[in-house]
């Protein structure tokens, strides 16, 4: 019995040593790379960083008529929703002089691309027509004008709610973009 144990020892040692080597190698491969170098395995979008954002008022092109209440509601709703994300230390309004002193400021511009006025009565009576929609190009840029992110987002109200609810829908989508990108 004693002779048998001595004969088995090298083979057991070899198995254990191989297992340990495999575990060690696997753990080395799985280790994250040095800081600052993104690893190839998890492909995550690069996040933007900024301590402050300034939201410019919506400025439609001359050939597109958007009602004033729609423009104001869009601007105010976006400010409310961006503030709710808590991604920025300061959310400055258009024209705010304090934004000039912000160190890394990002400017959000909104240019309406299309607008379709609907009817609340028509929506509620027919449920298939009378929708209100607005499509706006949203641009995040540096103070020097370098564009960081640009997207076309739309706001809609299809069934219930007044026409201005489309601007709330749009603002929620802007907040989603902020949450994804910052």
């Amino acid at each position: 019995m004693k002779t048998v144990t001595r004969a088995a020892f090298p083979s057991i040692f070899a198995v254990v040593a191989t297992g340990a080597a495999l575990l060690l190698g696997g753990s080395l491969v799985a280790q994250p790379g040095p800081a600052g170098k993104p690893t190839a395995a998890p492909q995550q979008p690069l996040k933007l960083t900024a301590s402050a954002i300034q939201i410019e008022r919506t400025d439609p092109p001359e050939d597109l008529q958007v009602p004033e209440d729609f423009r104001i509601s869009t601007y105010e709703n976006v400010i409310l929703q961006v503030e709710k994300t808590k991604k920025f230390g300061h959310v400055y309004r258009s024209g705010d002089r304090r934004a000039a002193d912000a160190p890394d400021l990002i400017i959000l511009r909104m240019v309406p691309q299309a607008y379709k006025a609907g009817s609340q009565k028509q929506r509620e009576v027919t449920t298939v027509s009378g929708g209100t929609s607005i499509k706006i190009r949203v641009t995040f840029s540096h103070r020097d004008g370098k564009v960081l992110l640009e997207k076309d987002l739309d706001g809609k109200v299809r069934f219930f709610g007044d026409n201005l609810r489309a601007t709330y829908d749009f603002a929620k989508k802007v907040a989603d973009v902020v949450n994804e990108s910052f």
Partner: protein, 198 residues
Amino acid sequence: MQTRSTQVSQEVASNPGRTLRRSLWLAGAVVFALSMVIAATALPVFSRQPAAPQASPTSTISGVQCVIGCENIKPNSKGTISVVPTGLQFATDKDTAAISTASIEDIFVGNQSRQDVSGVGGTIAKAAIPYGGGRIVSLFSHKVEVLSVEYVDSNGGFHGAIYVLPVGQATSFRDQLVAQGAKVSAHVDAAVAPEEKQ
């Protein structure tokens, strides 16, 4: 008494045309008097044109909805709007938001229609009506005026506030603010522009 009624009966029997004329004359007098009374009572109602509130400006209206843009007040809150010597003021039970006349950059007035039965409760009630009756209820709406005010704060930040008022009142408020010195630019009312533009 019996003798008199007998005399009247005899008179009617002897001259029926005269009695008929007298009856017609009495009926006409009664109708004329009634119509005069009705006309006198209805005159103030018919003379009150929709534009009357503009003629006599009201500086305080309750039940006004602040859609958005009132400082420290939740969107879609209802309260009282008033023109004070310093500008425009909107007050709810809890808070007050004021816009000074000097800070106003522009004022817009637009027209909209609002459903008579709306909101979460109204929507549920309409959905509960059988055989699609809720759609009939949706046909009932009323016109409102939307007052949009653009102004700047002490740091130069741009603000906008939107209020929903009864018809005719928004114009009156704008006129009062302009009289106080608020800036208003000449602009095209986009609310009456073609509804669809792509």
